[in-house]
Symmetry: C2
Subunit: 158 residues, 2 copies
């Protein structure tokens, strides 16, 4: 429909996208094991548990279990088991949903919020060092470009 610019390379898009994917995997492979090890060593926690607390921290009013499962990453653990342990340690609590007493939400306690703040601060500084090959400007640029990706499962028209 619209005029397109001449490609700057003869390489097909599929090859560029495959390389992009392999490099996303590489960044993941270089960073994630370090995060797992440090969360274990410094906070006695796991990445799935950190992710659950991060999700709960973003929603102070609480999340239903089904919503919580939806926000977790690929290789997540057992959400119910994680919430059970957080509750046993008084870091999270189950509470009735206002307006619907049959439904329950999970939310962080004050103690949980304080503990997550400590972990998140450390996590941020680890990422800062692990990704120090990228200048602030590069990180912004790549982040903005990657942010354009939509969920393939909800895309229409292709």
């Amino acid at each position: 429909m619209s005029a397109t610019l001449a490609p700057v390379s003869h390489e097909p898009a599929s090859k560029a996208r495959l390389r992009l994917w392999l490099r996303v995997l590489k960044v993941n492979r270089l960073v994630e094991p370090v995060l797992r090890e440090r969360l274990r060593a410094e906070f006695g926690t796991t990445l799935p548990r950190f992710d659950v607390m991060a999700a709960l921290n973003r929603f102070p009013e609480g999340l239903k279990m089904s919503q919580l499962s939806g926000v977790l990453r690929v290789s997540n653990g057992n959400v119910t088991g994680i919430v059970d342990r957080l509750e046993a340690e008084e870091l999270a609590e189950r509470a009735p949903l206002p307006g619907d007493r049959r439904a329950a939400v999970v939310r962080l306690t004050d103690k949980g919020r304080a503990e997550f703040a400590r972990q998140a601060e450390a996590h941020k500084s680890w990422i800062d060092a692990l990704l120090s090959d990228f200048s602030a400007e590069e990180a912004r640029e790549i982040g903005a470009l990657l942010g354009a990706m939509t969920d393939p499962a909800t895309r229409t028209g292709d």
Copy 2:
């Protein structure tokens, strides 16, 4: 030491790097489950098994088991079990290392190479569609930028 340009944003580098990391995770989370499901449905295989075959395919002369473990991604399965099954299906074989008969390498058979070629072609076209939000030029740009990342474990001087 050297003169630096004024930042284009007041946002600290740590925040930009954290956002970059979260977006890398997001791309991973949107793509990886689809790959796993399609590899299962269309080829009766798994992502760790695909990764093992991809590594072997890159080294026609074969890899030692220890080298093979090194190339695999984070949530890999059991490399020995995967190789055992590939061998049972005649897709891979163990062979003595030339010049050192006590050491063995694993390599793809011709049948394994042909099977991997089919899977890799499909995988490439899936990635092409899954990452279609990125133009060829964007994919090249992000790939090139991400490619600058070095292994934190081998970095010196910071």
